[in-house]
Each structure stands twice: as structure tokens, then as C-alpha cells.
Symmetry: C2
Subunit: 373 residues, 2 copies
């Protein structure tokens, strides 16, 4: 296939794959797509090790990394140890765990990526590591990155991509000189906005084309197959940015019980909830959400406090669930988009990519036939 | 163009247009699409008059009607006069009106379409009127219609269509022998579900194809142009069902101040709120919603009570707003989908339909070029 993003990145299938798992990243790039490693939680040494592994396994194909590029120069940072969580929220969480036969004692504080905790200094070090490995794209899920970071990437021959959830954000990113805009719709897993993918993509394509038609737009949010990839291109996008679809792939490190839950879920089984990070993020609906949405539950805390409260509990639940613990399995959840309803069987990454290509051709054929007289 | 729905209904452009306005219905059908008149609030005599007018203006092209087909045999009905609205909610509404310089006295009760108020007897009379005029499609936004109604439509040579918001609803409608399934996504105006159009359409197409591949699926929710129509067909749909895009057409009876608001709005300017009918319905965001979402506001009432509270106030605001009343213009709102961000200039229905066809061809051309080697 040939679209603007294929030409820009030198790939055959216009699918960009966000994953925290190096195996997925390498397999996507080897299969003709473009893997993007989620690196936000890594130290520079960890990233160095991951990228060395990818270089050894990707067969020379291009790949990129995803960071939270901080928008300001201030080094922030609130440590989990330095904050006092509200007693009523802690008590409510602990009771919810006990109701699911989980001992709330000795929960371990968990490292989390938040805008506050991710400093420019750290982002800069990670970018240096990535550019030394020859990544060709650096993506950011936050607001417009500092100009110096964009310049550094460009000087090294790498592109900068940015995720946006509305038109205003797209305009800000274009001003900052970003090269690729990812229009991420309401359907997406993780932190996401209010506007559905079929509207947002069309609107962002119009906006970007009116300012700089050379900038490719990618559709994101709910896209799991080649028919939806063709729909994205019909909307004027150059391809798709996909995260959830890899979670149930054979290569993904997703816990087995979560893979099972995802394969069984329909599109109605996700929830966009504040009760994990403090901001609305889409997750598999579980007993965790039922507990926090029940009458009498405390309100969600702000980011990053909600994460300090939820992550240790949910990570303990996830570990127990893989051992067959019933209550923990009910509670356990992970970020995934509404497209989870279209993930119905475990596949290899290569198979998912082949299905993308095949579905795309099927869709184009059907469209072509619809206008043959 | 040729898709399953084009063949079934004998139309050239696979766009079904829901509208309360007979002018829009006739103009869409004359332009090669298929107009569907929203008839739920009409008496049999009123419907007779509307359909007679359409017959005189549609040039022999086919058209349909949309009703709420009741799912059970019970005649319901709660009259606005028979209910006591909670005093705190009434007082809050009246204060909100006063803050916008509107006198809350002498608000007039307003007829509303609700599942409770729409009896099977009345639906049956309307269907008789419509079938006598030779409508070829009867659509229903509610749950599965009674078998007798489906049989009556089929006996007269008309098809039955049903709107669904999730997979479970689609399965129920198929069991009842419905001929066309409309997958209506989160982006849509009016009462709508949680699942985005790009996911819901793909999931419903899979579901319907596995049971009865002869049943066409239409995509709905956010679809305003030919690129999105092509995206719908890429997803496996036979076309699109559109409501919002007609609201700013020259033929639509939408109040002028609402047309202006809609043309200026971006996709971020809608809200899916209970504070109009008592169930989540998507509307243009206005000072009405800000008022009811403010701290200390009463909770929304159940359907139909919330409508008895809101409709007289909002209809008074709408009347005043067209006269230039500032506070009323701030409050005034109407049901519209997120695609409102793509409605940027007033057009005739014929122009909207021509743009649908042109955008469709553009999208198919771009897709075809993307797979040419």
C-alpha cells in the first residue's frame, strides 16, 4: 500500500503499533508496519537495553518510541512516598480488596507515568538514547513538546508525532512543528477524549489540510482490522495508530487472565473512568469500577493521587488473578479500547498484520464494486 | 452507486435521511437518497396531510416513515397534566430561566414522544396511514416491534428497519424479522448509546453477517459527508443513516438561531446529557446544561418527567431566541450529533446529496490509488 505515512516512514502497511512490549514492536515492523515502543516508564539504561534487543530482532526495519514530552521546562515530580492519601479513600479501597478476598496490607508503591513526574531532563535523556539507536519517529501523548526537543529530533532525521483529541489541540501541535498528527477518538483505550473516531478523524483531516497538507493524519481509537483501516483512509487519514489490538497477540506480555477477559469481552464491556488515574481513561469494566461507582463511594482523587491509590491494589489483584484467585480476577482490569469487542481470538502479530492487509483489500474491492455501473 | 440498500429500496445514493421536516424528506428522495419522515408526534390526520404533501412533491421517488414501535401490547400513557413534578426541580428550572431574563410563568405543557405515551393502538393507525401512501420502509428507534406490525408491513410490501446501539439489541431485532439494522453510535444526536460508530458498525456487521447476511446494516452517528459514507461501506455497511446533517439545510425548519449555533459549533460543542428527557441524549451544549450540571443542582428526573420539566422551558427559550433575546439564545439547545463540527455552511438538500456522492467517489479513488503498485 502507498499512503503519505508509508512514504514518510518507508513502510508497506500504514499501521503504527503502540506497545510497551518490545516483541510486539519488532514483530510489527518486521511485518511491514511500524512499531512504537512505549518508553515513558523506563530509565535511560532500560531503554538502551530494550532498543538493543529490538535492533537485534527487527531485521533492519524502522521503528519508533513513545514518550510523554513535557510541555514546560519545569521539572515536576510528586513521589508516592511524599503524599498523604485521604484516609476515607484508602479505607474504601482496602475494604473493596477484602470483599474480594485480597489482603490490603503490604501493598507496594508503584512507579507511574504522569505529566507531573516526567521531567524534561529525563525525556531529553531518553530521546538521546533513542536517536542513537536510529529511531525514526518520536511520539508524544501530551501537549505540544518544547521546541528544542522537536529541533533535536529533526536534526537527527527523526519525525515527531503527537496524539490529539480535539481540533484545538491539533492546531497547537501544528504550530510547534509536529510532523504527524494522531487523531485519537473516544473509543480508544487509556486516556482519551469525548469525540468519536469517525467524526474526529474527518475534522482533524480538514483542519490539518487547511494549514499544512503535507502533515499526515492517523486515525486512532477502536481500529482493530483492515476494514477499519480502509475506513480511516476513506476519512482522509494516511493510516491508523493502534494500541489495543496487540494486547491479546501471542507476543504480548499481557497477563493470561486479562487476555482471556479481553477475548471474551464485547464492545460494551469497557468503561471510561476516573477511578484509576484520576483522569478519564478507558479500561475493561470490572468489579473495581462497580465498587467505586456504588452509592457512598468516595469521589475519585486527582491525578496522580488516584493512581497512587489504585495501582498497588490493581497490580496485586492482577498477580493473584493469574494464579486463579477468583476475587482478584473479578477486580482485575487493564486499559483497552471499545474495539476489544472485535478481538475474538489469539493471533500472532504477523497474522494480525496480514489480516489488516487482507481486510483493507477486501474493503477497497467492495467500494470499487459499489461505483461500477 | 450500488449497495445492498440501494438495490432493496431502489435508490442511487445509500443515504437514508431522518427528518421531522417533509421538505427535507422529499428533497432527499428526489436527489437519489431515501427520506424518512419522523412521524412519532403526529396524529393520523396530521400524518395523512404530511404524506399527501410529500406525494405531491417527491416526483414518484420512494420514502419511508420513522415511529417508535412499542415493544409490548400494553397501552401506556402518562399525561403531563396528571403528574406532580418535584418542587425543588421546578424551582431550580424557574430560577435558571429568570437568570436568563425569561419569565417562568405560563409555560405551556408540550406534547412529547416517549415509550410510555406511544401506544400500540396509535402506532397501528399511523402505520395504516403510511402503508396506504405506499411508504416502502418503516423504521423504529425502540426495541423489537410486535410481530403483528412486522407482518403487516411485510404484507404491504414495506420493509422494517430498527436502530440498535449494541450487539444484544441487534440480535433481538434479527429474531423479530427486521429487514434493515441501523447501527447507531455514540456520536449521534438524540438518544444514543456508549459505543462509537467505527467500532459499533464493524461489530454489528460481523453479528448480522453471521446470522443473516441478506440484512443490510447502515452506519449512523456522526456521518455528514461522502468520505464518511465511504468509511461506512469500508466497515461493511450498505450505507448510512443520517439525521443531524439536514438540520442546517435550507429546507429544514430548524430555528434560525439554532442553525447559526450549529454552523459555528465544533465537535466538542455537544453533550450527552440526561437533563432534557431523563435519558442520555446528545444535544448542542448550552447554558441549560451548565445550569443543571452546576454544584447544588437537583438530579435529573426520570423519563418522561424530565421532559415535562425541560420542554416547556426550552421551547419558550427557543421562541424568544429567534427574536434576538440574549439569555434565551444562551439557553437554547437542540439534539444534534458530534458531526455538527463538520456542518460549516448552509446548503440545500440537493447540494448535501451531491457532496455525499462526490466525497464518496473521492474517497474510493484515494483508496484505489493506495493499492496501485
Amino acid at each position: 500500500m502507498q499512503t503519505k505515512i508509508c512514504q514518510m516512514l518507508g513502510i508497506d502497511i500504514p499501521v503504527l503499533a503502540f506497545s510497551h512490549c518490545r516483541d510486539v514492536v519488532a514483530a510489527v515492523s518486521k511485518s511491514g508496519g511500524y512499531g512504537v515502543l512505549g518508553a515513558v516508564l523506563m530509565s535511560p539504561a532500560e531503554l538502551e537495553a530494550e532498543l538493543t534487543w529490538i535492533d537485534e530482532h527487527v531485521g533492519g526495519a524502522p521503528y519508533g518510541i513513545d514518550l510523554m514530552l513535557p510541555t514546560s521546562l519545569a521539572d515536576g515530580g510528586v513521589s508516592p512516598d511524599a503524599v498523604q492519601l485521604p484516609a476515607d479513600a484508602v479505607a474504601y479501597r482496602d475494604q473493596l480488596l477484602r470483599e474480594h478476598d485480597i489482603d490490603p496490607d503490604s501493598l507496594t508503591a508503584v512507579a507511574m507515568a504522569t505529566a507531573e513526574s516526567f521531567s524534561e531532563h529525563r525525556a531529553d535523556e531518553l530521546i538521546d538514547v533513542a536517536l542513537a539507536h536510529g529511531v525514526t519517529l518520536i511520539a508524544s501523548a501530551l501537549g505540544p513538546p518544547p521546541a528544542a526537543m522537536v529541533e533535536k529530533a529533526h536534526a537527527a532525521g527523526a519525525y515527531v508525532a503527537a496524539l490529539v483529541g480535539n481540533k484545538k489541540h491539533a492546531l497547537r501541535q501544528l504550530e510547534r512543528g509536529v510532523d504527524v498528527i494522531v487523531a485519537q477518538g473516544y473509543e480508544a483505550g487509556g486516556h482519551t477524549g469525548e469525540i468519536g473516531t469517525i467524526v474526529l478523524t474527518a475534522e482533524i483531516v480538514q483542519t490539518v489540510n487547511s494549514i499544512n497538507p503535507d502533515v499526515p493524519v492517523l486515525a486512532a481509537g477502536g481500529i482493530m482490522n483492515g476494514h477499519q483501516l480502509a475506513a480511516s483512509v476513506a476519512l482522509g487519514a494516511a493510516g491508523a495508530w493502534c494500541g489495543s489490538v496487540w494486547l491479546t497477540s501471542r507476543e504480548a506480555e499481557t497477563e493470561e487472565h486479562l487476555k482471556r477477559k479481553m477475548l471474551e469481552a464485547s464492545s460494551s464491556d469497557t468503561v471510561r473512568s476516573k477511578y484509576r488515574t484520576g483522569k478519564p481513561s478507558r479500561q475493561l469494566r470490572s468489579a473495581w469500577h462497580a465498587g467505586w461507582e456504588a452509592p457512598g463511594a468516595p469521589a475519585s482523587l486527582e491525578m496522580p493521587l488516584m493512581g497512587y491509590l489504585s495501582e498497588p491494589a490493581l497490580q496485586k489483584a492482577s498477580l493473584l488473578a493469574d494464579g486463579g484467585h477468583v476475587g482478584a480476577t473479578e477486580l482485575s482490569t487493564y486499559w483497552v479500547g471499545q474495539g476489544v469487542g472485535l478481538m475474538n481470538q489469539p493471533k500472532s502479530v504477523a497474522q494480525i498484520m496480514a489480516d489488516f492487509a487482507e481486510g483493507y483489500i477486501e474493503a477497497v474491492t467492495a467500494l470499487t464494486e459499489s461505483i461500477d455501473e
